[in-house]
C-alpha cells in the first residue's frame, strides 16, 4: 500500500508560489486561508537563500491527531492525515501542536471567532463520497480518487515539490542528489532512508556537510 508524502527540494524551489496558487484554485480555498505556503530563509544572501514549500506533511505520528479533544482526525490506508469537519469544534489545539503551521482557521465574525479547521488534504478530500459536491465544498478536490496526484506537486515548474508514494518519490530524489554528487555538488544522498520518507527507525544521524562543501558558506 502506498504511503503518501511530500518532498520539497530546496535546491530547486525558486519561490514562484505556483504551488500555493494551484492549491488555492483547485480546492477553492477561501480568502485568508493558505493550505500551502513558501518559506524563504537567508533572503537576499547570495548562495544561501533557500525556499521550501510547506503544507501538512501528513506525519506518521501526527501531533494534531494526538491533541484533538474531539478526535476528528483519521489516517487513511494511504497514510494521508484527514479530518472530519462535522466533528471539528475549531478549538485550535491542532494549530498549536503542528510544527509546520498546517492547520488553518478562517476568521469569521467579531472577536476572532474561528471557523472549523482547514488544511491540506493531499488532494484526497474527506469523509464524504469521493468526488461529491459535499466533499468538494468542505474539503476541496479528491484528485487521488481520480487517479491523479496533488496539483501543487504536479504544477511545480521546477519539480522541486514532488508528491506520491514515499518509496517512489524517495527514489526520484535519490537519483537527483546522486547526480548532484557525481557533478561535484555537496553530498546529500546518504541522509535519506529509502524505505520511508524520513528514514526508518535506527537510521544514524546524518553527518553535517563540511562548510567548504557548501557554496557561499563562510568557513
Amino acid at each position: 500500500m502506498a504511503r503518501m508524502k511530500f518532498i520539497c527540494d530546496t535546491e530547486r524551489c525558486i519561490e514562484c508560489n505556483g504551488c500555493v496558487t494551484a492549491c488555492k484554485n483547485e480546492n477553492e480555498v477561501p480568502w485568508g486561508v493558505n493550505r500551502r505556503r513558501v518559506v524563504t530563509v537567508n533572503d537576499g544572501v547570495i548562495g544561501q537563500e533557500k525556499s521550501v514549500s510547506v503544507a501538512c506533511m501528513h506525519c506518521s505520528d501526527a501531533p494534531c491527531m494526538a491533541v484533538c479533544p474531539v478526535d476528528c482526525f483519521y489516517r487513511t490506508d494511504e497514510g494521508v492525515v484527514l479530518h472530519d469537519k462535522d466533528i471539528c469544534i475549531g478549538c485550535g489545539y491542532c494549530s498549536f501542536a503542528c510544527p509546520f503551521g498546517a492547520p488553518q482557521f478562517l476568521s469569521k465574525g467579531a472577536f476572532g471567532v474561528r471557523s472549523k479547521m482547514d488544511k491540506c488534504t493531499f488532494c484526497s478530500g474527506g469523509p464524504e463520497a469521493n468526488g461529491s459536491v459535499a466533499e468538494f465544498e468542505k474539503y476541496g478536490r479528491n484528485r487521488l480518487a481520480e487517479g491523479k496526484l496533488p496539483l501543487c506537486a504536479e504544477m511545480c515548474s521546477t519539480k522541486a515539490l514532488i508528491a506520491g508514494d514515499s518509496d517512489v518519490i524517495s527514489t526520484i530524489f535519490n537519483k537527483r542528489v546522486t547526480v548532484r554528487e557525481s557533478n561535484g555538488k555537496y553530498a546529500g544522498s546518504q541522509i535519506w532512508g529509502w524505505s520511508t520518507a524520513y528514514g526508518p527507525s535506527g537510521t544514524p544521524v546524518p553527518v553535517p556537510t563540511p562548510a567548504d562543501k557548501i557554496p557561499g558558506e563562510k568557513s
Binding site: A2, E78, L82, I87, A129, G147, L149, I172, K175
Partner: protein, 78 residues
C-alpha cells in the same frame, strides 16, 4: 398522599427540564466518526483518468506510481 403528589410533580418538572438540556439525536449522530471512501474506489465526477479500473487497488496503485514518474526528468527524458 399530598406529599407524594408534590414529590411526583417535582420529579416531572425536573424530568422535563433535563429533556430540554439533552442533545437532539440528529446532532448526536453527526458527531460520530464516519468511514472514508478509499481513493482506489474512484470518483463519480467525470474527471477521472482513464488508465485504471475503479475498485481495483492494484490498478490504482500502478496508475499512481506511473504518474509519479512524470515528476522525474530522468524518467521522462531519455
Amino acid at each position: 398522599m399530598k406529599l407524594n403528589l408534590k414529590t411526583l410533580g417535582i420529579f416531572l418538572v425536573a424530568g422535563l427540564l433535563l429533556v430540554a438540556c439533552s442533545e437532539p439525536p440528529e446532532i448526536a449522530a453527526k458527531a460520530a466518526k464516519r468511514p472514508d471512501f478509499a481513493p482506489y474506489m474512484g470518483a463519480d465526477n467525470g474527471f477521472m483518468t482513464k488508465n485504471w479500473t475503479p475498485g481495483n487497488l492494484q490498478s490504482w496503485t500502478e496508475a499512481i506510481n506511473k504518474r509519479n514518474q512524470n515528476q522525474s526528468e530522468y524518467s521522462r527524458v531519455k
